[in-house]
């Protein structure tokens, strides 16, 4: 009530402002959208961009520096590094999206149930999330992959299993707030079922938060999978996984550093891009989350 209508008008205009104004007013978001679009484009048009198939060897052209042997040089088998990094974006994005989808579905469902029902449901879910949080995620993922055997799919499962807890916690808190709102009470008084209340009334009101969480956790998912691939537990050679390329480059760090540097840069750029996007979206969609 402090500024009364004046302030309300300001808030109202925030909703009404066009997307262009929001974008231009938020440098972070703009940079994020730009990098996101770039990575997506690279992944989509990899076939056109790549100069050679990612696994085409040319043993006569081994370890060529950038310039002479293709834009980014070649690796120890004479494969074109640019083509491998380009194709690698597909793996990274695919893995990221699958992981994020699994952890979103899992985390949001768990969070909804824990927050809505409270009591023992909440305590059980809370203890599971607490245990997951207490262990370093990479170590836990390592254990799961070791048990299931090394493969990209197992890595996806492992990363998703260790990272849904963060979602669950935030969605739980949000649900606890929403379930006491009058419109939810009204729904209960109308005779809506619990499931209907959770998925029809509460869930849609968490979408802003979920989008932000998903965007912010994508780089983590990509980083973790490349890390496990780097350790030899995920994608197997000759897959152009950035982690695999990085690993292969380690042996030639002194005579052909570009093999490691370029996939590394790709990882950093992608992660940075999604972080910027996520934080930008957070400012726009859910400003109260800002720490």
């Amino acid at each position: 009530m402090k500024l009364e209508l004046a302030q309300r008008e300001v808030n109202g205009s925030r909703n009404a402002r066009s997307w262009r104004t929001i974008l231009l007013g938020n440098g972070q978001l703009m940079a994020g959208v730009f990098i996101f679009a770039l990575v997506m484009a690279v992944a989509l048009f990899a076939d056109g961009l790549a100069l050679r198939p990612y696994d085409a060897m040319d043993l006569g052209n081994r370890l060529q520096p950038p310039g002479t042997g293709g834009p980014l040089g070649t690796d120890q088998f004479g494969r074109d590094l640019f083509s491998r990094v380009v194709y690698g974006s597909r793996i990274a994005l695919r893995v990221g999206l699958i992981v994020v989808t699994i952890e979103t579905v899992l985390g949001v469902t768990m969070g909804l149930f824990a927050g809505y029902y409270g009591g023992w449901v909440d305590r059980v879910i809370a203890s599971v999330t607490d245990v997951t949080w207490a262990l370093p995620p990479i170590v836990l993922a390592l254990a799961i992959v070791t048990a299931l055997g090394p493969s990209l799919n197992n890595v996806i499962i492992a990363i998703a299993l260790v990272s849904w807890a963060g979602y669950a916690r935030l969605i739980r808190t949000k649900t606890q707030g929403l379930k006491n709102m009058p419109f939810v009470e009204a729904a209960r008084a109308l005779g809506e079922s619990d499931l209907s209340i959770m998925f029809r009334y509460i869930l849609p009101n968490t979408f802003g938060l979920v989008i932000v969480l998903a965007t912010l956790s994508l780089p983590g998912a990509i980083l973790s999978t490349t890390a496990l691939s780097f350790l030899g537990l995920g994608s197997q050679p000759p897959a152009p996984d950035w982690g695999v390329i990085l690993n292969e480059g380690i042996r030639h760090l002194y005579d052909a550093p570009w093999i490691s540097v370029f996939p590394g840069l790709a990882i950093v750029c992608t992660a940075l891009g999604f972080n910027l996007l996520g934080e930008g979206l957070r400012d726009v969609l859910d400003p109260r989350m800002k720490v």
Partner: protein
């Protein structure tokens, strides 16, 4: 304890018998239960069909909890809640839903009473949908109902935040009455609204009651509003009903010192009455977790005697359809000037 129906001999629509709701209070790392907040502490009350009963009290009086016990949005700790003769507390899931569909609720904050992600049409039509009524029939009933609450059809496709506070509250009322319930529970329905909008909503509620024969359970802290809306008023203090009486007699001659304090503290909307006699309460309200023994008002009551400190006063019949819970009501002659 006597329960007297309002004016008719038919069974009351709502009957509360010694209804209690204690909320556990937890402290410390282990969330140990260290006590109970007695939000509602032994309330007995009957609301007749077609009656408008106002429940007033200050924060912590338990009036809002009381309103939620009726549709069992909150499970009572002890006592009975009967709706149209049916026990609400022990009703099975399906019976409870059937009972709840015969009552509507309107909440205080209109801006959060409708699902922000659903267009208004969806919120108003949802009760019909739950009954399996869809399509043309649903549209017909929605249009009929929004006309009853004086809303135009153009609001149906808007989202709640695109409506004014008054329109939001009309939409909430439309949702509450679309199944033509017998009872409307109104929890501070105009407290968040400006005076001119409040007047519109109060008029609407009065004409609705006359048109479709509703019973009202009207919860508010605003005494002007409750006087305008109710046939009878129940006054609550610290979880207990301290006085129940028809509006006129209660405001002219309150029997309970708390009622007198409440009515005389409430600004009478007339500057000439600013020097009226006031019944003041001493100090601040005590905590609900450890209410004082005896009459819970005694530490703040200027009329308190030894008996008040020891014995809990019961709600007794005081004649003329009035009830009061005070040891000294017959010796006190309280009078309040209201606008």
């Amino acid at each position: 304890m006597s329960i007297r129906p309002h004016s008719t001999t038919e069974t009351p629509l709502i009957v509360l018998e010694d209804a209690c709701k204690y909320f556990p209070v937890r402290r410390g790392l282990t969330r140990r239960v260290v006590g109970h907040a007695r939000a509602v502490d032994g309330v007995s009350l009957a609301v007749a069909r077609g009656e408008a009963l106002g429940v007033v009290g200050e924060s912590g009086s338990g009036k809002t909890t009381l309103a939620r016990l009726v549709p069992r949005l909150i499970q009572s700790t002890r006592g009975r809640v009967l709706y149209d003769g049916q026990d609400v507390e022990t009703a099975s899931g399906r019976d409870l839903i059937r009972i709840r569909r015969r009552m509507g609720i309107v909440f205080q904050d209109p801006s959060s009473s409708l699902n922000p992600r659903t267009p208004v049409r969806g919120s108003i039509a949802r009760p019909l949908e739950l009954q399996g009524i869809r399509g043309k029939e649903a549209t017909r009933r929605v249009l009929e109902t929004i006309e009853l609450v004086n809303l135009g059809a153009e609001v149906l496709d808007r989202y709640p935040h695109q409506l004014s506070g008054g329109q939001q509250q009309r939409a909430s009322i439309a949702r509450a009455i679309i199944l033509r319930p017998q009872l409307l529970i109104l929890d501070e329905p105009t407290s968040a609204l400006d005076v001119s909008v409040q007047a519109q909503i109060l008029n609407l509620l009065q004409s609705l009651q006359a048109q479709i024969g509703l019973t009202y359970l009207f919860i508010t802290h605003n005494l002007s509003v409750v006087r305008y809306m109710s046939d009878r008023i129940g006054v609550m203090y610290l979880g207990r009903l301290v006085e129940v009486a028809p509006v006129g007699p209660m405001q002219d001659r309150p029997l309970h010192p708390y009622t007198a304090a409440l009515f005389s503290a409430s600004p009478p909307l007339n500057p000439r009455l600013r020097n009226r006699q006031r019944y003041r309460l001493v100090g601040d309200p005590p905590s609900l977790i450890s209410p004082p023994p005896g009459c819970s008002l005694h530490p703040r009551c200027v009329f308190a005697v030894e008996q008040c400190r020891e014995e809990v006063p019961l709600l007794v019949d005081a004649g003329d359809g009035r009830q009061v819970a005070c040891h000294r009501w017959m010796q006190l002659a309280l009078a309040v000037q209201t606008g």
